[in-house]
Amino acid sequence: MQVRYFGWVRSRIGISKEEISLPTHIDTIALLIDFLKTRGSGYLQAFEEIENIRAAVNQEIAPHDTKIFEGDEVALFPPMTGG
């Protein structure tokens, strides 16, 4: 699965995208975030305020309980500040 990061989620993790091989029990965005938090302090910092983490699945905004599948493009980022 391709995972993309934007804004301060990206700058805290230090990379803008990566390929993740999903362990089979990781099937929602919330579980993906928990899984990513085990990967190091940058991830921990990026996801410490979970209420400020927005997600998109295949470029559509998606709540944290959304089911995810191996071929999906998942993006994690702070609240958007367009305009």
């Binding site: 998109a56 470029q59 609240p79 958007m80």
Partner: protein, 153 residues
């Protein structure tokens, strides 16, 4: 029409293109967002807009459709820039044209409100005091959501 671009835009040219697109236009509303020079007392040197290519275009296009469904508008233009900008630079342009001013004015406000909360952009300010990500304002979410509450107007 929507455009996501690094380049600056010329409002006069954009508006005259909108005007020429339709002879039923009676009013054109527009809004331009500008990079400010100060955050409180802290001088902004540059502002860098990061975005999510693909999702950005999709979101702006969806907003255009929503505005066209809700108001009687003859033309819509959204131009949103990304990349590194300086104070005084133009960030975003929203133009709506209608036979009636109310439709033009309201749809323009609707679009700019929703761009704030729904368009996948993130702003990094390089200020005198250092680098700062611009926080989403809850007042922006409130401004956007009042259009949901008012759907039956």
């Amino acid at each position: 029409m929507i455009r996501v671009q690094k380049e600056d835009f010329d409002i006069g040219i954009e508006l005259s293109k909108v005007l020429k697109s339709n002879t039923e236009i009676g009013g054109i509303s527009s809004f331009v967002g500008i990079v400010r020079e100060y955050f409180g007392d802290d001088q902004i040197k540059t502002m860098t807009l990061e975005h999510y290519p693909g999702m950005t275009e999709k979101t702006l296009h969806d907003l255009e459709i929503k505005a066209r469904n809700r108001w009687d508008i003859k033309d819509v233009l959204i131009v949103h820039r990304y990349g590194t900008l300086e104070p005084g630079d133009q960030i975003v342009l929203v133009v709506t044209a209608s036979s009636h001013r109310e439709d033009a004015l309201e749809s323009c406000q609707f679009l700019i409100d929703w761009l704030k909360t729904d368009a996948p952009f993130w702003k990094l300010e390089n200020r005198k005091s250092g680098l700062h990500w611009v926080s989403a304002r809850t007042t922006d979410t409130d401004a956007a959501s009042r259009w949901v509450a008012n759907t039956d107007d």
